[in-house]
């Protein structure tokens, strides 16, 4: 009897639990990894998932045989998705949802009519203006520029230019082309930036090189070089920056580069203007994971290595971290929005990520080891944050107020929401609440702005009281000192002139 009651109670509890799981819990509970974000003190804190893995697609699912070490993804303006299937020497074009294959590009027709095949292609770009397809054909040491039907318009090979040293190899890994048709190519083994070619395929020089970070070793080397002989110098390790790994172009023509490096912390993500200046240089964003993680098993320090960067249509920056298999999404100002993905066997986990691409509300991640494309779908939380962020960044602070409050309902730790609310109240002239939310956001800067307004308001409201108060206090002091003078017997307090002469010691 007793046991029966227990069993019924247990069943009831389980039912209640299950019910609450179905209704009460939000998206984060569904992910197999801990979803986190960083707070103002750069400490990892739990957060809500902005994206959730919904499915992963292999080549087999598409009916064209498995991919083999695919290395790049690209979505063109007509929402076709290009998958660079490196070891199968082909390019697979699918629809945006990665559900069906539109065509497979393997062979191309050269301008002279001959046929040519790809050999381990690693990068692709489709120009939104001309519709031309740019393919970085790695093992053939060339970049093919072709139209959608496979007719090659231009073949860029190793330049016969004085600017390009002849002993250098020409191994194109990634390629993009700007509005003017200039072609930028990331070359393997080249650290001086992306090679830049004009629309006719003439070599123009390098673009967007990284600078050498002034680490202690670099500085020591510099001093050694000052005093060492030429022979010693030739045997010394040269100080070279890490070459850029990948890049992308946004709608306004800015080029974003990323650098995959364990040693370099500076310049891992750059936003370059046409002159090659880094617009993110003054930003204090640390791209990827802020703290490196020590792994005792392998005795290694795991540090983020950004291997791909992608700018979505609404300006968000998606950075792909090779080390942890995570995608870090930033808004256009470099504020961290979401972190998602992991290294694992489950859906949403990766072995060796190679490319990231956004597609409306979806984000696609390519895994070169699992040979799949994983589709992440934006969650409710994600869409609200995006809505609020876009409004906020465009300066519509008041309009963003409501979305920010809804963000807080999902995640009360989301700092940017507090900042946004504070900014909105400031615009509305509600200084007191603006101060309150600035304090919650831990932002002295915002608090200062709100406090300035609050003080102004307070002073103009209380001017009369203030003046009366000051007058009363001064009068009080005067009366008091007069009273003290009259009733207090003076002692020798400060009359040092009357002090007795000092005795000689």
């Amino acid at each position: 009897m007793h046991k029966k009651i227990q069993r019924i109670a247990a069943a009831a509890c389980a039912a209640v639990l299950a019910g609450s799981m179905l209704t009460g819990l939000t998206a984060a509970a569904d992910e197999h990894y801990d979803v986190y974000n960083y707070d103002r003190w750069e400490e990892a804190i739990p957060s809500q998932a902005g994206y959730m893995a919904t499915r992963s697609v292999s080549g087999d699912d598409l009916g064209i045989g498995d991919f083999s070490e695919p290395s790049d993804l690209f979505r063109d303006t007509e929402d076709q998705l290009y998958i660079v299937d490196t070891k199968n020497n082909r390019i697979v074009v699918t629809d945006a949802g990665v559900t069906k294959v539109i065509r497979v590009m393997e062979e191309f027709t050269m301008p002279d009519g001959s046929r040519t095949k790809l050999k381990a292609p690693e990068g692709i770009y489709v120009s939104p203006e001309s519709g031309l397809i740019y393919i970085a054909d790695y093992s053939n040491s060339r970049v093919l520029v072709t139209d959608a039907d496979g007719n090659v318009q231009l073949e860029v090979t190793k330049p016969e230019s004085e600017l390009f040293a002849s002993e250098l190899t020409f191994l194109p890994q990634k390629v993009i082309a700007d509005k003017a048709g200039n072609i930028y190519i990331v070359l393997g083994n080249i650290t001086t930036g992306a090679a830049m070619f004009d629309a006719e395929g003439n070599f123009k020089g390098y673009y967007g090189a990284n600078t050498v970070e002034a680490t202690s070793q670099v500085i020591t080397n510099y001093f050694w070089k000052l005093i060492s002989t030429d022979e010693m110098r030739s045997r010394q390790a040269r100080t070279v920056p890490t070459g850029i790994t990948n890049f992308d172009l946004d709608d306004e023509g800015f080029i974003y580069t990323c650098t995959q490096s364990t040693s370099q912390k500076k310049d891992t993500v750059k936003k370059l203007n046409p002159a090659g200046n880094n617009l993110f240089a003054s930003l204090d964003t640390s791209w990827g994971d802020i703290q490196s993680v020590w792994d005792a098993n392998t005795s290694k320090n795991y540090q983020s290595m950004i291997c791909d960067i992608e700018i979505s249509d609404d300006g968000n920056i998606n950075c792909l971290d090779l080390t942890t298999g995570r995608v870090f999404q930033y808004d256009e100002e470099g504020n961290l929005l979401f972190i998602f993905g992991s290294t694992s066997e489950q859906l949403g986990g990766f072995t060796e990520v190679s490319a990231v691409e956004s597609c409306g509300t979806e984000i696609l991640v390519l895994d070169a080891r699992k040979n799949t494309v994983t589709v992440f779908e934006e969650t409710d939380f994600g869409s609200i944050v995006h809505e609020a962020t876009v409004l906020y960044n465009d300066g519509y602070y008041e309009e963003a107020l409501d979305p920010w409050f809804r963000v807080l309902q999902y995640d009360g730790n989301y700092r940017r929401a507090f900042l946004g609310i504070s900014a909105a109240y400031l615009v509305q002239g509600n200084y007191k609440d603006s101060m309150k939310y600035a304090k919650l956001a831990d932002s002295p800067y915002r608090y200062n702005r709100a406090f300035e307004g609050y003080r102004q308001e307070w002073l103009s409201e209380h001017m009369t009281q203030l003046v009366i108060g000051i007058v009363l206090i001064i009068a009080g002091i005067l009366v008091l000192s007069w009273y003290v003078k009259k009733h207090h017997k003076p002692n020798a307090e400060y009359d040092l002139t009357k002090a007795a002469p000092r005795e000689e010691e």
Binding site: W41, D442, P444, Y447, N448, N491, E493, L496
Partner: protein, 209 residues
């Protein structure tokens, strides 16, 4: 002449940088109680400065508060100053006793400590653009206290100006040596503790098995 109460002496010393401490020495004035109170007020001021500063200027991580650094930065530093100065100046024919050095140094700190309180208060009324007022208060307090410290050391030991400078410089060196030895001592004690603790765990393990 100069029959001042203890409190009047404080006021006299602080407002007369040149001869205030000489007068105090001459009248053998100064109270240990007041001096100790001043040092404790300094300690409180340091905490106020960290915790109660106006939010618009800067903010500290609430999760990281620890009182030990504040004790070290105020009380411990002050005591090492007193002991260090006494040790150095005893060798340099100084006439000050430890008690007098303690009292005079504490009195000399008053403008600096007061400036901290005023800064904390001002930080709640000013905005970032007006920060110059706060730094003005800070520098006035600091310089005033610096002059007073100099005058205090000069009077308490009956030194010449140059000798006072030398004595202060040597005191700073002595303070550093003392702090270094203190840290060394602490870490040694910790190692001894760890040693005995591991002996204990080892013994406990043997007994159990």
């Amino acid at each position: 002449m100069m029959d001042l109460t203890n409190r009047q002496w404080v006021r006299h010393a602080v407002t007369h940088p040149m001869e205030g401490f000489e007068d105090m020495r001459w009248k053998k004035a100064g109270s240990m109680k007041i001096a100790t109170g001043i040092v404790l007020l300094w300690f409180v001021a340091a905490i106020f400065y960290e915790r109660l500063y106006g939010f618009q200027f800067y903010t500290t991580n609430d999760k990281m508060f620890n009182v030990i650094p504040f004790i070290v930065q105020t009380i411990v530093i002050f005591l090492t100053w007193v002991v260090g100065n006494w040790s150095v100046c005893t060798l340099l024919d100084g006439e000050g006793t430890m008690r007098n050095i303690y009292i005079y140094s504490a009195y000399a700190l008053i403008p600096y400590i007061a400036s901290i309180y005023i800064e904390v208060l001002l930080s709640h009324f000013l905005i970032r653009d007006e920060m110059v007022f706060i730094s003005a208060v800070y520098w006035i307090g600091l310089l005033w206290s610096g002059v007073l410290i100099f005058s205090a050391i000069k009077s308490v030991h009956q030194y010449s100006v140059i000798k006072t400078f030398v004595a202060i410089a040597l005191t700073v060196v002595a303070m550093m040596i003392m702090l270094f030895l203190l840290v060394l001592l602490l870490s040694l004690f910790q190692q001894v503790y760890v040693f005995f603790y591991s002996l204990y765990t080892e013994a406990a393990y043997r007994l159990k098995v």
